[in-house]
Amino acid sequence: MSAVLAQGRTVLTANEAAAHAVMLARARAIGCYPITPQTIIVERLADLTAGRDDVEFTNLESEHAMFGYVIAAARVGVRTFTATSSQGLLYAHEQLQRASRERVPLVAVNVNRSIFAPWSIEPDLSDSMSQRDTGWIQLYCASAQEVLDSVLCAYRIAETVLLPVMVCAEGFLLSHTSELVDVPGQDMVDAFLPELRPPEEWVLDPERPRTFSALPEARDYDAFQRRVADAMDDAVSLIEDVASEFGSRFGRHKAGALAIAGNPDADTALVTIGTIGETALELLEEDDDLLLVRVHAYRPFPAAQLSAALARASHVAVVDRAPAFGAFGPLGSDVRSLGPAHIGAATNVVCGLGGTEVTPRTLRWVLETARSGGADGDVAPLYVPEGV
């Protein structure tokens, strides 16, 4: 007997919201391996799918095996799901690279957690940021509702462009924090998310014997990689379209690539990712010369949207919750790669590692630093001084 899905407005953690979205999306092959703080997602899915013969829920022996399991099941044309965190995501790196190159429309939730060493189970974005070039679309969330909505959108996006999508949610800050969440009805989700129908020639069908991912000549290998890049390009506008369709069908706003708040003509812009973007909203109460840009879709990188959003600011600050040793932070380098010059000179601050609190006070320090000339000419990001 399987557990029952909550309906309507209810209180859920982000982990529970993810599990609800997966059930509403009718994922049929689910690969499971525990890791804190993700584990509750697969525990809930084990309960919700218990005794059902239209779902295969399999406990694997590692994340590498787990991603292999869902990749293989997806190749047969079945909608899949899996979730992990931190070391688990890193352990699966080989499979992450392969999933995008093989054009497998997976959806996975990564509950962000810092990475070893030393040990910590607290949140930062080092795990998924280190996988940003694997060819996965990455959506970073700032609330439990956004996790639920993003998982549903992720299936639409993945199955349209045939690329895997990683929905990222910070551990504990989201995964274990209860919030009011609106759980849509099954009929609405079914209308938004039709049954998976990948191209017939892509599906591994025993009735039509063929070899998949066989060794090609160099020029064919090159062409396959270019198609992955093209699919990523296609995803840029698709992410916006799916978000706007979601908004009109479900009656609530869904961010596309960016969530923008504050004064569009402000002199100072603060670019964030994840829950720091929620914390930053508090600054608007005291600062009306501030534009907030939270990056929701980090890959494909929304370069055009960001350039447009930041066009009028003369000071740009970018907050990363992950280091990129020997260079600017991941989001910082990406933003600094944009023109024009004032964006190229953006102040980049790395903070919040290993669960260190990022408060409005931290962000005020970031803004003061940026407004006073910031990191012009620096070759590395700033780290927040102790006590700020």
């Binding site: 292999g68 099941a73 047969v76 063929r210």
Partner: protein, 316 residues
């Protein structure tokens, strides 16, 4: 016997001519007998072959050419067992659960990098035929030592001046210890041995759950013998008891081929360049390990088979 051989020769081959295996490749003979045997045993069901990184990613053909007559799913080195499980799950969901999902994996993949995956799929009793294609080293990368390399054998990472220490991993008994329904060792070194081989493939097709076939695949460049000696070297492996032919069917062990007059292991070793540096003492030690393992198998057979009726299909 001749009639049976004619049937075998006449059957439709699921590995087509024109594949890219080396001259004298033992596994090329073996994979055809595995696939053709499974297809013959269950003609109504299709086969999906799951192949991790190995010589077979190349032998299968350069894209878009394909030497196999079945669907092939290629995987990274360590995840063949998990991916075969994923394919089986998805086929069940799509109403194609009758498909035979078959892993064809080398000894590096099975005994080393992918062992946790093989063990986990066995422990879950996944409905798969897992075939270990054992050529006793990493051959695709140019002959490096694996957990299945025999003691003393030369490889490029265990040179003659620092030969392989320790024993070949006893993977058949490791797998049997999982309590899976069927484990067998196979090597087609003669017509009776081929009969044993095909009977075990047929038995594997008949059983449900995790089935493990350990197939010895003689490799001319890796074992250093002339390409026309593959069958003879395979025969010597079995006749010397270096590679005993056994089955563990539902927990009951049986030696399925008993050499009438076992040949000294020395003859098997001398047929291959990879053992050319062994001293008489090394050969004697090798022989004593072979004898000890045979005694253990005889004891296992005595303990487990007396109360069981061995399935007639695997009688030789």
């Amino acid at each position: 016997m001749a009639e049976w051989l004619e049937e075998i020769v006449a059957e439709e081959k699921l590995l087509h001519p024109g594949h890219a295996a080396c001259a004298g490749c033992g596994p090329a003979i073996n994979v055809r007998h595995v696939l053709d045997g499974l297809a013959a045993a269950r003609p109504e069901s299709r086969i999906v072959l799951v192949v991790p990184a190995s010589c077979w990613t190349i032998i299968a053909g350069i894209w878009p050419v394909n030497a196999f007559g079945v669907s092939v799913h290629l995987t990274p080195f360590a995840s063949a067992a998990a991916e075969a499980s994923g394919i089986k799950s998805a086929l069940r969901l799509r109403g194609q659960g009758d498909t035979q999902v078959v892993v064809w994996a080398g000894d590096g993949s099975t005994c080393d990098i992918g062992l946790s995956g093989v063990s986990a799929a066995a422990e879950r009793d996944e409905d798969l035929v897992y075939v270990l294609n054992d050529n006793e080293a990493y051959m695709n990368t140019g002959v490096q030592k694996s957990g299945a390399t025999p003691e003393g054998a030369w490889t490029t990472t265990t040179p003659a001046t620092a030969p392989r220490a320790g024993q070949k991993k006893d993977i058949a008994r490791i797998m049997a210890a999982h309590g899976i329904p069927y484990v067998a060792t196979l090597a087609p070194g003669s017509v009776p041995m081929l009969r044993d081989f095909r009977a075990k493939v047929a038995r594997a097709a008949e059983v449900r759950g995790f089935r493990f076939l350990h197939v010895l695949g003689a490799c001319p460049p890796g074992w250093r013998y002339p390409t026309d000696q593959t069958v003879e070297v395979t025969r010597l492996a079995v006749e010397s008891r270096a590679f005993p032919l056994v089955a563990c069917d539902d927990g009951a062990w049986r030696i399925t081929y008993r050499p009438k007059r076992p040949v000294p292991v020395r003859e098997y070793l001398e047929a291959q360049g990879r053992f050319g540096h062994l001293s008489p003492d090394d050969v004697e030690a090798f022989q004593s390990h072979v004898d000890e393992r045979w005694r253990q198998l005889v004891a296992l057979e005595g303990q487990t088979s007396c109360s069981e009726t061995p399935p007639s299909t695997i009688s030789v």
